[in-house]
Symmetry: C2
Subunit: 239 residues, 2 copies
């Protein structure tokens, strides 16, 4: 049985199987070795994620194999400003850190060997947020700021360090490109295909550093290159 | 727990989570309702598929929910000509039909309510096969012909009718477009993004006719639109 890698997060995870999406790319990358299981919930913050984690992640896996890894990719909604139109998604920074700690504890208790890979929220293009509001926004002020996203990204990195978890610093990584607003963000928050590509590459890199790579994983059933053209059925004797 | 839809097939299934792939598109389409589980095995024919079906599809699902549907997409390798370089993948037409019957029986016995959606092999562009051989091919003759693929497609449709299963006639559907060779095939056999799009649309259509659609399936956990901004946690009381 193939082990799972779970993708747990908000809309940037839920949308990750769209064209060029980082989830689909992971699934393609790990095909024949791992099932990449999508558990993205648009609009969710860490407070709501904690409420549902028990239900989303059943203790018993099909076939009994524990999952190899989980990506935990929250913060973009927690970082909504408390005095703007998305205030109901806001979670204070201090609680965000506590919640991430609790989510990590939940996974460590459930599956002690699982690799928990945190991903920080992406940077925010505030002008683009004003052009792409979820609802009517007569205030003229964006519901998220890049500064706030940066504070949550920093908190996420702190928690990862405290817990010994790997982390992708998406907030910094994306801003290394001068053209990050156009190149990586489609509406100032969600990711373009190039933005998805960065997440994919960083996740593959971090998983590889933890020993989770296509090279290290058993291939599900004989590869065509290992099937003897003179006696193909020999390859299936043990199946 | 979300139910599964399995994708069982050869390389055209295995590659279906690449950019614009039909598997990734299905996963995106059904997100929050279904887990689309990739079980594609490059180069496999129905003979080999039968050898491994028992191992690939364990009787007990995680959480106990039986899968909603499975796509069975074999024939492109069975239809390799028996006197060309891919002869070891060839399965005679008569056995191909028997094997499809056996695969359907396997799924019906395993999960009596499952929707088994057959997909015929795609048409073959023989000139493109000569330009894109798997191995050195000094014969100057393609290892697959469109006529042979058409015979296997017709056999697949017959089996579907005999068993009362829905079927996507990809061989015919693609050739309705005058430019099918360039539009839908990347190497005379595998699919371009436009070719993947056709498979995706046809699968969604056939599943919908069997009552499997996003509109009919329960959404996993409260949708953001149904979370009360005045009292968000109310939505999670039963989780």
């Amino acid at each position: 049985m193939r082990p799972n890698i779970y993708l747990f997060g908000d809309s940037i995870t839920e949308e990750s199987f769209g064209d060029g999406g980082w989830g689909a790319s992971l699934s393609h990358h790990f095909c024949r070795t791992v099932d990449v299981v999508l558990r993205g919930y648009s609009g969710y913050n860490t407070r709501w994620a904690l409420k549902v984690a028990e239900r989303i992640f059943p203790p018993v896996e099909s076939g009994g194999a524990p999952p190899l890894a989980v990506t935990v990719f929250f913060g973009a909604n927690d970082a909504c400003l408390p005095d703007r139109y998305s205030a109901f998604q806001h979670v204070p920074l201090r609680e965000y850190k506590q919640n991430l700690h609790s989510i990590i504890s939940f996974f460590k208790k459930r599956w002690p060997e699982i690799v928990i890979l945190l991903i920080t929220p992406p940077p925010i293009d505030e002008d683009a947020r004003l052009r792409h509001p979820y609802i009517e926004n007569p205030s003229g002020l964006p519901e998220r700021t890049n500064e706030a996203a940066g504070a949550y990204a920093q908190a996420c990195i702190s928690v990862a360090k405290e817990c010994g978890c790997p982390v992708v610093d998406l907030w910094i990584k994306m801003q290394e490109c001068p053209d990050w607003k156009q190149a990586y963000l489609s509406d100032g928050l969600h990711l373009t295909q190039a933005g998805n590509r960065i997440v994919f590459e960083e996740v593959v890199k971090e998983l590889k550093e933890k020993g989770i790579s296509v090279e290290n994983l058993p291939v599900d059933l004989p590869h065509i290159a290992n099937i003897d053209p003179q006696d193909p059925l020999k390859a299936f004797q043990d199946c």
